[in-house]
């Protein structure tokens, strides 16, 4: 059986950054396994700019950002295979993991890996998951599918477009289709606020006078062979459609940008526990899952706003996996393990578990809130003790936040940690 020290599942921004960091930490025997035709993941089709301001201090397009990391992979001669699908991850008798994969050259094959980094990314919520009534005509696409058609294949998905969901991909596609000559009639958002970044609302919608209809949804898709129109309805405070506040909008295309879901089929079949809210694995501060030797990072762990943060997290996971292998498959010495709980408007945290090591290091706890809060107070408590309290002018569901727990604070932790955001 083929062996390697670290198998990285996925060659997108998370997988590449994890592999590079693992290599730099001293592990050379790595294998990146990618199902698409080349490295880069979703960045290959994200031709717009706005990537890399944090990471590289300059504004790059998606393909440029991906290329930076691809160069790092190639410079380090880190092996990778493309057009290869991972089917399964199981434990071996020796405490390693066996990755089962297949491609058209080798058929099904197995790799014994001392550590595995999960970096499979996420996928878009589909029409089926949204339960929109109507027939199944052509012309209903996820925003990312339309993006691939346009930017990779050079095909125009339609002419008169309604977009449901104001996530960033939906906003980016509203601009992209407008620039290519389509008439984007409106972007409907079920919630009373947009899930996208403010900058994208300005440069993708305002710039082109595309209306953003908050608290509106598509309640029916019309048309048999091809989309002919949609019913757009206002929703009440319980997000229920108000039938008398509905209108028919003629269109030939409906794009869906209604959220991203981490793609964790492999994680699930490996028996690794998932977080109900993030849809990703439960991890400690090193991004180690509950299964020793398996790490998770990037959008497969939780959906990030910016690829820059994906890279940062993936480096942590890659480095941690390398340290584990270098230490002879051992974790740092741990005094105790505590859980991280949510309170107030906080919906989830990553990590969900903190291991208090004998030699602790600063930890960033990322979180997302469930509602927009102005002048929020963010606190971190441990029992009765307040470890940290800070004010923030605005927190919103569309923007990931973090709190930094210093070595000193971690020294005071003797029970579970509670992260809260309140007005």
């Amino acid at each position: 059986m083929r062996t390697c020290d670290i198998a990285v599942i996925g060659g997108g921004p998370a997988g590449m950054a994890a592999a590079v960091a693992a290599h730099d930490a001293g592990i050379k025997d790595i294998l990146i396994i990618e199902r698409d035709e080349g490295l880069g993941g979703i960045l290959r089709q994200c031709i717009h700019n706005g990537f890399g301001l944090h990471r590289f201090g300059e504004e790059l397009t998606g393909p440029e950002y991906a290329d930076r990391y691809k160069k790092m992979v190639i410079e380090r001669e880190i092996p990778y295979v493309v057009k290869t699908m991972v089917l399964d991850i199981t434990k071996s008798d020796g405490g390693d993991h066996i990755v089962t994969a297949m491609n058209s050259e080798s058929g099904v094959f197995h790799i014994n890996a001392k550590a595995v980094v999960l970096a499979m990314g996420c996928r878009e919520r589909s029409r089926g998951q949204l339960n929109i009534p109507g027939d199944r005509p052509a012309g209903v696409y996820s925003a990312g599918t339309a993006q691939r058609f346009m930017n990779i294949n050079g095909e125009m998905p339609g002419k008169n477009v309604v977009i449901l969901g104001s996530g960033d991909i939906g906003l980016i596609m509203a601009r992209r289709m407008t620039l290519e000559g389509a008439n984007v009639k409106m972007v409907c958002e079920l919630m009373p606020y947009s899930g996208g970044l403010n900058r994208n609302i300005v440069q993708c919608l305002h710039d082109f006078n595309i209306p953003l209809k908050l608290s509106h949804t598509v309640s029916k898709i019309h048309g048999k062979e091809r989309v002919e129109g949609v019913t757009v309805s206002e929703v009440d405070e319980h997000l229920r459609v108000i039938p008398e506040k509905s209108e028919y909008v003629e269109c030939d295309t409906l794009l869906l940008s209604c959220g991203l879901l981490p793609e964790n089929e492999l994680t699930k079949s490996a028996g690794i526990p998932l977080d109900r809210i993030t849809g990703g694995a439960v991890v400690n501060q090193n991004r180690r899952t509950e299964d020793k030797g398996v790490y998770s990072c990037g959008n497969v762990l939780h959906v990030h706003d910016l690829v820059d943060y994906v890279s940062e997290e993936a480096e942590l996971a890659g480095r941690s996996a390398a340290e584990y292998v270098l230490a002879g498959k051992k974790e740092p010495e741990c005094i105790k393990t505590v859980n991280v709980h949510n309170a107030g408007a906080v919906r989830y945290t990553v990590p969900q578990v903190v291991d208090i090591y004998k030699e602790p290091k600063d930890i960033k706890i990322y979180f997302r809130v469930g509602a927009v809060l102005n002048n929020a107070t963010i606190t971190v408590k441990c029992g009765e003790k307040t470890l940290l309290s800070k004010k923030k002018r605005k927190v919103a569901p569309g923007e990931m936040e973090f709190v930094l727990l210093t070595e000193k604070m971690l020294g005071e932790v003797d029970s579970d940690i509670i992260v809260s955001a309140e007005n």
């Binding site: 393909p63 294949n153 620039l179 290519e180 900058r199 300005v202």
Partner: protein
């Protein structure tokens, strides 16, 4: 804008999206709400001469069904975005081409269009 007039806008330079206020004063445009110098520059440009970076694709003539992602090397006038798209729709390039290669010079007389992807 007249003296004393105010305009609010959201900065698009980075994901923070600062809420900026630009006020016309006797000494010129005064900007507040920005957390970095780029915000000030952006607010003044939005009032005097708004610009945007354009990203799109062009056809690769000597490769089947292959498109090359491109961008304007510098932001161009906002009102010229559609004119630039029109021009770039008929531009074709030949592979090999790599990131940074100029595929069209001075679109709308304003900025070079450069490749943002590699085609071997």
């Amino acid at each position: 804008m007249n003296i004393g007039e105010k305009r609010e806008m959201i900065c698009i330079n980075c994901p923070i999206g600062c809420l900026l206020t630009a006020e016309m004063t006797g000494e010129g445009i005064k900007v507040s709400g920005n957390t970095c110098p780029r915000g000030e520059k952006y607010a003044i440009a939005e009032i005097t001469h708004p610009t945007r970076t354009l990203t799109t694709t062009v056809k690769v003539a000597n490769r089947d069904d292959t498109y090359l992602p491109v961008k304007t090397a510098e932001p161009i006038s906002k009102e010229k975005l559609f004119e630039a798209m029109e021009t770039l729709n008929s531009v074709e390039v030949n592979a090999p081409v790599k990131i940074g290669d100029v595929v069209f010079s001075r679109v709308c007389g304003e900025a070079d269009v450069v490749a943002t992807g590699n085609v071997d």
